[in-house]
Amino acid sequence: MLKKLGLFAAMIAFTAVTGAAMAFPDKPINYIIPFNAGGESDISARLQQPYFKKLTGQDLIIQYQAGAGGAQAWSVLNDQPGDGYTMMGTNLPHIIMQPMLQDPGYKTEDLVNIYMFHFTPDALIVRADSEYETLQQVIDAAKAAPGALTVGGTATNTANHLANQRLADLTGAEMTYIPYTGTGATIPALLGGEVELLWGYTTVAAGQGDKVRMLAVAQDKRHPLFPDVPTFKELGIDMVGGAYRGIAVPSSTPEEVRKELSGIIGKINADPDFIAQMEQAGFAMLDIPYEEMDAFMAERKKLYEEIARQLGSLK
């Protein structure tokens, strides 16, 4: 308790000294995660938390508002006060694909993204004791018995589902896609042997260590944590994709506050210790500040429109 009191005192002293220089933020900031605890969005927010504190002297308060694959939280973001003290995690392709496929209660343009800070590449994963050593073995087995291999992933019409379909389109390897409620639920399914393979992210392989093996990652270059795992491109399959994560603020947030927050997140993202932690956890770093957001979103949107058309033909 004494420790905590001391901390408070130090905090107050710190804010008093730096108060003049740093008008923003002068109180804790709410950071809403539109998913359940334990997912990639939560873990990256948890890793950002201490650096935010170190940089600004203020706490980052993480809250969970899971529902409808994030849509429930995103649809009410703009109702929150735009004073810079509320921000929310956003995910691509979710915030582009959801409004494209149905009405989730928000439009892509409604969300003011201020920073995109990392990327988790899609990866095809097997158990460590699996008979499949390479992607080619999987493709051959899938061709020999179409649909007999089962591959787990998160929900339907998602990045994982699309990746499975894209692999089938490009190579003719048909596998049965089994949807789970989230990344967390897919891991026991793979480890327990319910599915033979898993569409996941590099973070899954990083978290499970030597219990799993990645066959290929959908990234331009090999991931620094996994120098031995080939990319799909190296194997002659044109697949680059995954989930991007960033932060959005309510649309009523003034321009200068948006830039200020974007700057803080950028500084966290540039901290070498932070980068080391993130890469250790399997994330791939990315830096899209507020100023470059429009161009980035426009580029991604064009790409996903293409995929949405494919999905339309899927149905």
């Binding site: 709410n30 809403i32 308060i61 809250q63 109702d79 006060p81 509320t86 149905k315």
Partner: protein, 172 residues
């Protein structure tokens, strides 16, 4: 209950039968994987509800029916009301309607008007709804003060301690 046809139960079953039928029909337009459960459960619900209606109407079987023990919480009120005189019955029905109306208005208005004002107003209305018999003005003032303190306390707990973003609305 015995000797009287369970009209309320039949009405309830009619609601369930139509809900089941709706779910069944709606499932016909879904993709096969998403349709299997709604179709099965919808059909089962409609069927069970129809059986329930038939059982309730058939006098031979009616004797077997007994009250579900778990509904006591909801059912007791009506039981007591029957015993009371007509005046009391009307009053108790009035109080229940006030409570329901307050809850509905509360839920719909607080995002628009603001959670503090709506909650304070609703709590005061509910305080009078829960008030039986006459009380002294001093006690009334005390009650009002407690209600005010309670609303302030929860408002602070939610907004400041737990950092839950509260809707502000027109007022606060």
């Amino acid at each position: 209950m015995n000797g009287r046809t369970d009209i309320a139960g039949i009405l309830g079953s009619l609601f369930f039968a139509s809900a089941g039928a709706y779910v069944f029909v709606a499932s016909l337009g879904m993709s096969p994987m998403a349709a299997m459960f709604p179709r099965t459960v919808g059909a089962a619900l409609a069927l069970l509800a129809l059986v329930q209606i038939v059982t309730a109407l058939a006098p031979r079987l009616r004797n077997r029916e007994r009250m579900v023990p778990r509904q006591d919480a909801a059912g007791e009120g009506s039981g007591a009301a029957v015993e009371a005189d007509a005046d009391g019955q009307a009053e108790s029905r009035g109080r229940r309607l006030v409570l329901l109306a307050t809850m509905v208005a509360w839920a719909l208005l607080f995002p628009v008007v603001g959670i503090f004002v709506t909650s304070l107003a609703a709590c005061i209305v509910l305080m009078f709804t829960g008030l039986f018999g006459r009380i002294s003005p001093r006690r009334l003032a005390l009650y009002l003060a407690v209600v005010l303190a309670m609303v302030i306390f929860f408002h602070l707990l939610m907004g400041t301690v737990l950092n839950i973003p509260l809707p502000r609305g027109l007022l606060f």
